[in-house]
Amino acid sequence: MSHDKNHPADDIQQTTIEVAALATFLREVAARAEHDPSFASGVLAIARASGLFPTVQSQPEKPTASQPASPPTRASRRKGRHAANAPVDTTPPDPFKVMRAQGEAGLRAALEPLDLASLRTIVRAHRLDPARLSARWTNLERLIALIVEQTRARLNHGRAFERI
């Protein structure tokens, strides 16, 4: 008589081993993610690509009671926004979509948490500065002002011609 099926006791034992291995694996991943932001970003990217997690737009995190809101310094924003706040999504927002949906204040709010590289990506991706005058700017507020101004100008393009 052939044994095509395992004995139920064997199955339970096998499952227990696998669960323990999975728990160990996840704990290792969680521990490393907590200490290594780039590793965490990589895991998140894979999880999102697999459809496991829904894509979340990067938004300013709401302060909790245990984490009172404090304004980030310019240096901390430039260096370690990813490390400090571990943003869920690194895809920069489309300034035109955001301004259409949430207005100028909404766009500013969406741009405020972004780092220098993300702001530059927005400027480049949407050709907001064809002459690339801003390529060497490091002042985040100046880049945000450029993005807001150029987005507003393009969205208002043609308004003067609407009624003649």
Binding site: R127, D129, P130, A131, R132, L133, S134, L146, E149, Q150, A153, R154, N156, H157, G158, R159, A160, F161, I164
Partner: protein, 287 residues
Amino acid sequence: MPVITSLINLKGGVGKTTVTLALAHFLAVEHQRRVLVIDLDPQTNATVCLIPEMEWKQRDEAGRTLYQLFADQVKGSQRFNTDQAIVRAVSNVGGGVQGLDLLPSSLQLIKIQDRITQLTDFDNYQRGPIFALQKALDGFLPYYDHVLIDCPPSLGIVTLNGLAISDSYLIPVVPDILSVLGIPPILDRVEHFARATRHNIRALGIVISKMRAQTILHNEMVNRLRDDFQARRFPMVFDTVVPESARIAEAADVMAPVNTLQQKYGAGGPYEALSALTREFLSHVSR
């Protein structure tokens, strides 16, 4: 007196405004010439490439555009004030180019064109406001070295106002079948107008614009245009060719932050071509 040049083609989208604006910028910035751009095209494109559209709207509502000049002809009023209508130091380059001025157009010209046309006798030009622009600019032209007139894609009364003050005209063309078709009627009609008004208007030449060098059709049409010049059928074709370029298209954005012409038109190809075109233009008009 300034050198006054109209840019004409009966077809739209052939680069009239692009060439007008490029010549104006390079003459003012690289050759320190005092330049007046007159935008006769009701599409108002040259105008809103030189001043923000909201500024244009305020001026238009205040009667400070060419609409008012032609409305005065129809209504018998005298509201147009040339000094107030000319916008000084326009363009986004460096926040405004000293010596580059604009007489702005208006979309409202569309509404009034038919009525002006009805006033005009196109056989002998003895009736109609053919010289309204000339009268309005009396006393202002000596200030400038160059006047460039961006004409609408027609030979109606508005364009004739530009030709009436012009020494010469340029024909921008895309080297394709349709835009080249418009050349013979322009040559014929301008000659007729010049004869009837006893006013010499030189065909300065044809400027190839939006050239796609990889396209067989474009290359064939350029060769044909140059052959037609050799056969004395067409005016001279400028050696400089303006390429099709995203940077030239983007240069139309008057709100874009730029400080130099290299930044406006993109260093390299487009900038070099437009700079060369301006030098070639100067070599022809100074003869």
